[in-house]
């Protein structure tokens, strides 16, 4: 397997970023990593994952979709789209890599979202295998193997060397583009590291969380469950869970009048909000119970119903660590599961 020694990682980053924009997770503060545009000398974060997910790269929090100019009765629509530049995201975890597949199902199915597709086409996703999962991780519940992540190219660290495995055409091109810096290496220690990580995954507190009680065919019994009242009781409707979630995909479209023109924006939205899908008569979900239920029903029932059984959660654990009142999808699943 091709590898590079840990000491030369930054040389590799320098080489990649000389050709295209590179993003890597860096520590902003201890235990608070974020993806940053690589600049020479930046250190790859040792944190397990970033606070914000990597979905921003393809589905940014806000984007300007189009501009309109009004001239009497004429409306001129300005398509302000530009071809995205090629970029590489390095160090995406297996959970987030899977989330791109979930977002693809939404944005790349007909009618294709060309804004999203543009970025997706130009982005190369380089993933990094997990060796030290956190107690909040439960990706394996959704059939994700964190020791062999998806993505265009997967990277594995054995403590001394980074090994590269291309998984798609784009990944092969990526590895070729850096091949002069890589060398053939012995991956025997790597197998040990992977085995060790798999054993840890089995011992995680959420390792036995099951999806058996959920899925597209469980609509009525779950929707009508009397547990939602208790579960949603303390929810403050903030939307933190939806904004840190790699698979939350809802957006709103807003027009702003700048005085000279109209600017149309798309921005993340949250089903936890009172103005979510607000129509002439108001929000169809009038209580926080209904809004709360929507988030989890979407991930555990509606999404699989429309996507061949695939769940809309990747078990990244972000909503577990960031909800201000510590309510989350795991507590919901445990409360609703049929034992």
């Amino acid at each position: 397997m091709l590898k590079i020694s840990a000491a030369k990682l930054n040389d590799l980053f320098d080489a990649i970023s000389a050709k295209q924009t590179l993003y890597i997770p860096v520590d902003r503060e201890p235990n608070a990593a974020e993806f940053k545009k690589y600049e020479s000398g930046m250190k790859l974060s040792a944190s397990l994952n970033t606070i914000r997910s990597a979905k921003d790269f393809f589905f940014p929090q806000t984007e300007n979709l189009a501009d309109f100019k009004m001239n009497g009765k004429n409306i001129e629509v300005k398509d302000i789209r530009e071809e995205s530049e090629d970029f590489v995201i390095f160090g995406v975890r297996a959970c987030d890599a899977r989330s791109f597949g979930i977002l693809d199902k939404v944005f790349l199915s007909e009618p294709v979202d060309s804004f999203y597709k543009n970025r997706r086409d130009h982005g190369t996703v380089v993933t990094m295998a997990c060796t030290r999962p956190s107690e909040t991780c439960f990706c394996t519940t959704f059939g994700i193997d964190p020791t062999v992540p998806e993505g265009d190219c997967a990277v594995f660290f054995d403590g001394e060397n980074y090994f590269f495995l291309d998984r798609t055409e784009k990944g092969t091109k990526f590895v070729e583009s850096i091949s002069d810096m890589l060398e053939e290496g012995d991956a025997s220690k790597l197998a040990e590291v992977q085995e060790n990580a798999r054993n840890i995954m089995k011992k995680l507190p959420l390792a036995n969380l099951s999806t058996d009680s959920f899925g597209g065919d469980k609509l009525n019994e779950l929707f009508d469950s009397d547990k939602w009242a208790d579960l949603s009781e303390a929810c403050i409707g903030c939307g933190t869970c939806t904004f840190v979630c790699p698979t939350c995909q809802c957006y709103d479209i807003r027009d702003f009048n700048t005085g000279r023109e109209i600017k149309r924006f798309r921005c993340w939205d949250s089903c936890m909000y009172s103005d979510f899908t607000k129509m002439a008569h108001g929000n169809p979900r009038t209580s926080q119970l209904e809004r709360f239920r929507q988030r989890f029903m979407h991930k555990l029932v509606y999404f699989p119903a429309n996507n061949d059984g695939e769940f809309g959660c990747v078990g990244c654990g972000r909503c577990l660590s960031k909800c201000p009142i510590s309510m989350n999808i795991v507590k919901v699943m445990k409360a609703l599961e049929v034992k």
Binding site: E135, G239, T240, F243, F256, D269, Y273, L320, I325
Partner: protein, 323 residues
Amino acid sequence: MQEAMIKRAKELLADGTVNRVMGWKRGEFSYDITPAVFETAEELDAEFVCDDLTQANVSKYLIKESRKEGKILALLKPCDTYSFNQLVKEHRIIRENVYVIGIPGGPKIDIEKIKAKEISGILSVKNEDYTLKIETIYGTETMPYYEAISGKCENCKSKKHVVFDELIGEDGDVLESNRFEMVEKLENMTAQERYDFWRDQLSKCIRCNACRNVCPACTCENCVFDNPKSGIDNKAAADSFEENMFHIIRAFHVAGRCTDCGECSRVCPQNIPLHLLNRKFIKDINSLYGEYQAGADTTSRAPLNDYSTDDCEPSIVHERGVE
């Protein structure tokens, strides 16, 4: 202490003084504690928790709870009693419908501080004589208790309960805290440095609204930022300064009503030190209008809602801005 709380809560449920208890429920791990309403002794026995990691201020929930049938028992830490009082003063909580037990405050432990020490896979946290013993998937770790103290407890302003019907444990005093230290540091920066500091901090904001929604001073039925008719709702931030405006405006809205409970900074997923904005307002109010602590009582008039002829002139503020 937790046992004493459960015992007393059960008594009050049994003798009909209250029909519900506002407290906290344990979760999957030792730290994911959720505010909850308990209705029976069995529920209390099974799930009630109030330990070193129980930080949430439950006052805001009492707005809704005090409008329900019957009386509810609320267990309030000293800082929570200020929030409670302020909400009573603003006619948001119906005082008669809440039975308040003052409980001891912190210093509480913040799991984020433990995680910041690169301790991960946390299974349990125990306080053994002010050393934390942390069981993790990767083995046992220890760290001094004081290094894991929650930000909101670091500069505790008061150990005194400003409102209660009874107490569990002892009442304390208003403390001499150094809570304005960082504000002073910011004041002593040049305007550019200060601007850079805030731009750097606020640019981390993901506008998740946790700070606003958790804030006991933010109780508007429809926040201006959620109301399309207000003209300033900014769900889509057209430029990176809009999130900054959200925070500046919010700080103005809670000025004179913020009790410095620390919840905003505690819940921020991006660790933005929001309390510094509010403390700047508190410090200014103290120096311009005389010492004032929001929530300390329910009768005094708040400086920004009151007029007296010796109020400071707007020019004072103007001069400062110029300098």
